[in-house]
């Protein structure tokens, strides 16, 4: 019988446990209902990134598998726009809220104006949103995305523009570089929490054709192979900011989630593992609870940042 309190607070998003999902690996949740009760299990779900207007995403090929427990994707934020998203998934996502699962809606954009417009539309149309995650780190779109979060100044500008548009908590999804410096800038600009890391830009070349295995020269690497890099970046960022972090990157076990928490993460998102092992979230949660109990704490919050160096 688990007696550890698992509830955490991600910048105002009160989660019954630390488990969240990495945007883009989890659809909008309903696809997993055949595997477990999503609303009764997760602390939060982070939905697929959505812009003010629909985006088609990138042409095929969007996916490559890499040896060494990793994949690359170049989906490019295919989405139906905020209106389409709310029409199709709003009732389902409200149902998740009713079961105690927080719903984090992701904001995508090509420009500051587009981030603002998407946030305004969510505010108008998405009462089910517990908070927002502003994606300034997608490596797979030509304009916006990672370019918006490439420097502390650019990242802060997006955050300052979005901040007055909503009273709800705003998390910012960060790219895998300069996380301490950019994290501080985002904190100063009013971010309630940070999530990191997004996929790591990589390349995979077909040496016979001399072309990329994907439709674009570079794409985002994810999966267990990047876990150690993500833990390091969470640790670096945690030392630089006071706002809570959501650790993302190659988590596929309770041990991996525990590493993120020890490095300084308040919440932990499961990403690529959902794709190849869609039953993994309840197992990871049980393993995490068991670990916390074995650590002899009453409350999992006691373990956040408890890494000893």
């Amino acid at each position: 019988m688990v007696s550890v309190s698992m509830a955490v607070n991600l910048g105002g998003i009160q989660m019954r446990n630390p488990l969240n999902t990495a945007s883009g690996t989890y659809g909008n949740g309903w696809q997993f209902e055949g595997f477990y009760d999503v609303g009764a299990t997760l602390g939060a779900i982070t939905c697929k990134g959505v812009a003010a207007e629909p985006w088609q995403g990138n042409p095929a090929q969007r996916l490559a598998e890499l040896p060494g427990s990793a994949i690359m994707n170049s989906v490019g934020l295919q989405n139906p726009g905020v209106r389409g998203f709310v029409d199709e998934y709003g009732a389902y996502l409200q149902g998740l809220r009713d079961k105690g699962c927080q719903v984090i809606c992701q904001v995508a954009g090509h420009s500051i104006e587009e981030y603002v417009r998407a946030t305004e539309l969510y505010e108008e149309l998405a009462p089910f949103a517990s908070g927002f995650e502003v994606n300034i780190s997608c490596p797979n779109i030509a304009a916006g995305g990672a370019a918006m979060g490439a420097t502390p100044e650019a990242a802060a500008e997006v955050m300052r523009a979005v901040r007055p548009r909503t009273q709800r908590p705003v998390v910012v999804k960060m790219a895998p570089h300069d996380v301490a410096e950019i994290g501080r800038a985002l904190e100063d600009a009013g971010a309630d929490a940070l999530s990191l890391i997004n996929t790591i830009p990589g390349m995979s070349i077909d040496v016979c054709t001399r072309k990329s295995r994907l439709s674009r020269p570079t794409a985002g690497v994810s999966g267990p192979a990047i876990h150690a890099i993500a833990v390091r970046m969470v640790w670096e960022c945690a030392q630089a900011v006071k706002i809570p972090l959501c650790g993302i990157g190659g988590v596929s076990s309770g041990e991996g989630a525990a590493e993120m928490i020890l490095a300084g993460a308040t919440a932990v998102s499961v990403g690529t593992a959902n794709m190849y092992d869609p039953t993994c979230v309840p197992r990871i949660l049980a393993e995490l609870e068991q670990w916390a109990e074995e650590q002899g704490v009453q409350d999992i919050n006691e373990l956040i940042g408890a890494f000893e160096c």
């Binding site: 883009g24 690996t25 989890y26 659809g27 909008n28 309903w30 696809q31 997993f32 209902e33 055949g34 595997f35 697929k48 629909p54 088609q56 995403g57 042409p59 095929a60 090929q61 969007r62 996916l63 490559a64 598998e65 040896p67 060494g68 427990s69 990793a70 994949i71 994707n73 989906v75 295919q78 199709e88 998934y89 389902y92 999966g223 267990p224 690529t272 959902n274 794709m275 190849y276 092992d277 869609p278 039953t279």
Partner: protein, 267 residues
Amino acid sequence: MRQSSLTQHDFTVISNTQVAEGVWRMVFASEVARSIEPGQFMNFEVPGDGSHILRIPLSFSLADAAHGRVVIYYAVVGEGTGRLARMRPQEASTLLGPCGNGWRLPADTSKRALLVAGGIGLPPVVAAADLLAAAGVGFDVAIGLRTKDALAPTLLQELELFQDKDTQVRMATDDGSLGLHGFATQAAEQLLSERDYGSIYTCGPQVMMAGVAKLAEERGIACQVSMERMMGCGFGACACCNVALAAGGYALCCQDGPVFDAQEVAW
């Protein structure tokens, strides 16, 4: 948004043998046999190598709900299918399924259907034959292969289970070693010139299906195509397996397909 009925099932290998050049046939026991429909697919976790994380999506030829058995065929083309070929009887793993949307009966069941298969696209076409036969729809089959050694005799035997006395099976090979020296589309064209069809069902290489879609469009015959894409999840979560649509934008092969109306697809 639709309801998701797919879940994870265990499967246990009953037999797994090479049946043609580069082609393996596996019979396995699984509860998925009771819910999977012709043209749907499953996403297999193949043991033996933790460094390759993605599952392998495969369609099937026969599903025996009464005995909980499924027959799949696969071409060994890479590391993952190589591992699948090394699974031995009694060995077990998991699969996700039933995935996607399968074949649909034609609007007009009074006319014959033409089935066109290329290479390893034949197994799901056998499943289409099963669906059609159960509804009393007669069919003919055009099969294209690289060479005669690539033909799995068991697939022809399975097809025979659903044939009627009028069924014609017309073969074509790239090297002329069996049947017509040419492509499945040429065999299909012959049949189209000889008989009247109300529907066409096809699975095979994309270039072949594009040709079949064109034949169907020219003749005003409804055509269903089973598309193949590399997949991440197999159930709509990752959006990696996009299929370009004639109307613009993309559908997801795993969730919106793998069976599409040929007219929907941007060839």
